[in-house]
């Protein structure tokens, strides 16, 4: 019994909650970005590659300029470029977004591994200048919530602001209306004299930037200046699942990401007791459960909504 109690106390601890926020943040940032492209009617499967590039260029910038902020800057710049590249192919040249997304993911793995080898000589690097955790002494006076929120990377707090801004943008400004119209009924926007393509471009670039931020947080904040091959580790796909689960609502997408963070944290905590291979599958099992829920919910709604039209 004492073994079991030990497991319980490790799993249900403040540390788990702190870990939850750390793990959720990159997924949440990408999911907020994915909400933009989703609203613009683009199925963006390429977020994983966008995150990976952000992670790499974050570390590279940090390595070259010896400051983590330069890394963030380089990651953001590359995020804009990747978003534009994606929009160029998908919006301008009307390529299949699914194929381009897949290609982007594969391309990102190859490019980052190659560049990593040419700059660092190996497929990974660590110990580069990282983003410091913020220690706010007054927070520790609050039980549970205080330690949970304290000593986090700046990005954790920044994500809340981004989530709020994204939510306001999508649902409370005319531009958000245009963004949603560009995905739902582009012709309507066109006949109103606004270019739906421009909205799709903006959404792609925003998504590129937010995924880059997610990647930079992953390498510079979450893992203290470390880059490892394919370190995005399917977080882009999980972010995509969050987008679908949240019906592209940035606030709900954040909550969904938080849920993933929670299960990932539990998985990490359990690694002392159970095989890591087993605990690592937890977030993906949760993804499948969530997607099943989405489908069931959709069908129920269809049944309910049907008698209204005439």
């Amino acid at each position: 019994m004492s073994e079991f109690e030990k497991i319980l106390s490790t799993v249900f601890s403040v540390g788990t909650l702190q870990q939850m926020l750390r793990s959720a943040t990159p997924v949440a940032l990408a999911a907020i970005g994915g909400s933009m492209t989703e609203h613009a009617g683009i199925m963006n499967i390429g977020m994983d590659g966008m995150i990976l590039m952000g992670a790499f260029f974050g570390v590279l910038g940090s390595f070259l300029a010896h400051t983590a902020l330069a890394g963030v800057g380089l990651a953001l710049l590359m995020g804009v470029l990747v978003g534009m590249f994606f929009a160029l192919l998908v919006v301008r040249y009307k390529s299949d977004e699914f194929i381009i997304g897949c290609a982007l993911n594969t391309f990102a793995v190859g490019l980052t591994s190659y560049l990593s080898r040419s700059y660092f000589g190996t497929t990974g690097t660590k110990g580069n200048p990282a983003l410091p955790a913020l220690h706010l002494p007054f927070l520790n006076k609050i039980p549970i919530l205080g330690p949970m929120l304290n000593d986090q990377s700046l990005f954790v707090y920044l994500t809340w602001l981004i989530m709020l801004l994204a939510w306001l943008f999508v649902y409370k400004t005319p531009y958000g209306f245009w963004l949603r119209a560009s995905g739902e009924k582009p012709d309507t926007l066109r006949t109103a004299g606004i270019s739906p393509k421009r909205m799709k471009w903006i959404a792609s670039i925003l998504c590129g930037v937010l995924c880059a931020l997610a990647g930079a947080h992953l390498s510079l904040g979450h893992l203290n200046g470390t880059f490892a091959e394919n370190m995005s580790n399917s977080r882009g796909y999980i972010a995509f699942a969050c987008v679908i689960f949240a019906a592209a609502n940035p606030a709900k997408a954040y909550l969904a990401a938080l849920m993933f963070g929670f299960f990932e944290a539990i998985g990490l905590r359990l690694q002392g007791y159970v095989s890591a291979d087993l605990t690592n599958i937890i977030p993906y099992v949760i993804t499948i459960i969530m997607m099943v829920y989405v489908v069931v919910r959709k069908q129920q709604r269809k049944k309910k909504a049907a008698p209204a039209s005439a």
């Binding site: 005319p174 739902e184 009924k185 012709d187 309507t188 006949t191 109103a192 004299g193 039209s309």
Partner: protein, 514 residues
């Protein structure tokens, strides 16, 4: 001066698309404060001309003048600013947005410069409603309101943008007769009280007669005539549209009514939501007669036909084709029993848009020995011979039998479906919406083919939203209301006005209801 009352002037407009001259030297003036009807067959160039006016397309030659000012740049944004509004045939509304959000789109009222001001949006919509007497539910999502109301939202959207000239593209295609009457009342009001100009694109001639002051007829890209509506009649307009006399005369009926070919007894069918759509319905159809179903859309006629043809499961009851019980069999088995089906939606179920005309014509016949060698190798030459013969006989006009079916106009797609289904020579024909969205010339052709089949002894079940069509073709008519037969009549026994009472359920014949 003549030009002062011309609010729109087209001068020698030509529009060349690859391979098609859509507008050929069109010159036309629209006067302020009139209702101008623009009519013509599918592909005659009416929509192209209106798209040019609305700034969606740039003409290859000629100029457009709006209120005396020449249009220099063809861009909807600029044209909207000059007071032109357009209600497209397929509504330009975002389903999940509310009525008010749709109306103010692109000119949203704002709070603190960047935020959408929903209260102000709804207030300005309410002000518009009062000004024009057009009531809409401002805060309800557009996907939850009826098609008639959606059209009203489109009109309000144009008015919100300051339209003085309103283009309505096929506005009645999706409306019920009552909604059409309401729309016409609105048009009259805005023209008389607000001095607006309305251009209405249509191919329904009785509506032209009912609503317009003047009418312009287009044929093959040319404007072939402009008349005061009071100087013409529907027959003359039809001839001008088609370019030859159209004889909507009584179709000749010959032959004798034979044995029962299709029998439906106590049929119960549920719709896709699982709600009862056809309730305990029985009918009998004999060889050599046309039984027409008169019903407002959504009263079980689609489900009835889907159940007969095996596309939807039967809950209870029986369907017999030539005395053989086919209840619950799949469409292939039912067809083999002697039934052919012209489905109501040619694009989704009638044809395969991505296949060639020849392939579409072959569908359902591909296993016949004459198109096969050794049972698996297609005899291309035989298929081609057959397709070309049918193509010719049914007067299909497109890019030939090797062209894609989806590239043809609606009327020709419909002829293709009719040609294929009538080519099976089956004793029972189920014909649904045979001429929906099809022009006058094609309607005349399709009607005479249906009558020819009847005279040859086919049993035909006809379902159509067009009451004129039901009256013109049917030997007997039944009315459906909420999945039940409310009346059964011989042709000539009842007027259109009276049958409307049975279609809306306000009247029903004693014995036939149950």
């Amino acid at each position: 001066m003549k030009q002062t009352d011309a609010v729109i002037r087209f001068e020698h407009i030509s529009m060349q698309f690859p391979g098609v001259l859509a507008n050929d030297d069109v010159s036309l003036e629209i006067r302020r404060g009139e209702v101008f009807a623009l009519i013509g067959e599918n592909g005659a160039g009416k929509s192209t001309l209106m798209n040019i006016l609305y700034g969606i397309q740039t003409p290859t030659a000629g100029s457009v003048y709006i209120k005396g000012v020449r249009v220099e740049e063809y861009d909807p944004k600029i044209v909207i600013g000059q007071g032109v509004g357009m209600v497209h045939q397929h509504f330009m509304l975002v389903p999940s947005f509310t009525v008010a959000q749709n109306i103010v789109m692109s000119r949203e009222p704002r709070k603190h410069k960047i935020f959408f001001d929903n209260a102000a949006a709804e207030a300005s919509v309410r002000a518009l409603e009062e000004e024009y007497g057009l009531v809409v539910p401002e805060s309800v999502p557009v996907e939850d309101i009826s098609v008639g109301l959606q059209q009203r939202v489109e009109i309000l959207k144009a008015l919100y943008r300051g339209a003085e000239i309103l283009i309505l593209d096929e506005p009645t295609a999706v409306l019920t007769p009552q909604e059409t009457d309401e729309l016409f009342a609105v048009i009259r009001r805005i023209v008389q009280e607000k001095a607006m100009t309305v251009i209405i694109i249509t191919h329904k001639l009785d509506e032209v007669m009912a609503i317009s002051d003047r009418v312009g007829v287009m044929r093959k890209g040319k404007l072939v005539g402009v008349h005061e509506t009071k100087d013409v009649d529907a027959r003359k307009l039809a001839s001008m549209m088609v370019g030859r006399p159209v004889l909507f005369d009584e179709l000749e009926r010959t032959g004798l009514v034979g044995d029962p070919a299709l029998r439906v007894s106590n049929l119960q069918v549920c719709d896709h939501r699982g709600l009862p759509a056809v309730r305990n319905l029985s009918l009998e159809l004999r060889a050599g007669e046309i039984l027409g179903i008169a019903a407002i859309e959504g009263n079980g006629q689609s489900e009835l036909i889907e159940a007969i043809t095996g596309l939807t499961p039967v809950k209870s009851g029986r369907v017999e084709v030539l005395g053989k019980d086919v209840t619950g069999q799949d469409p292939g088995e039912i067809r083999a029993a002697g039934l052919a089906h012209v489905p109501e939606d040619r694009l989704s179920t009638g044809i395969s848009a991505a296949a060639t005309v020849a392939e579409n014509l072959l569908t359902g016949k591909q296993r016949e020995p004459r198109f096969n060698r050794f049972g698996f190798h297609q005899n291309r030459a035989a298929v081609r011979r057959y397709a070309e013969e049918v193509y010719e006989r049914y007067d299909i006009r497109g890019a030939g039998v090797d062209g894609l079916a989806g590239d043809m106009s609606g009327g020709n797609m419909q002829k293709l479906v009719i040609a294929r289904e009538f080519g099976f020579d089956t004793p029972v024909l189920i014909v649904s919406q045979p001429t929906r969205g099809v022009d006058v010339g094609a309607i005349e052709f399709i009607h005479s083919r249906i009558m020819e089949k009847r005279n040859q002894g086919a049993a035909i079940l006809l379902s159509s939203a067009d009451l004129d069509e039901v009256f013109r073709l049917s030997d007997r008519i039944i009315t459906l209301y909420e999945g039940e037969i409310t009346g059964s009549f011989r042709a000539g026994e009842i007027s259109k006005e009276e049958i409307g009472l049975y279609m809306t359920g306000s009247k029903r014949q004693g014995g036939t209801a149950q």
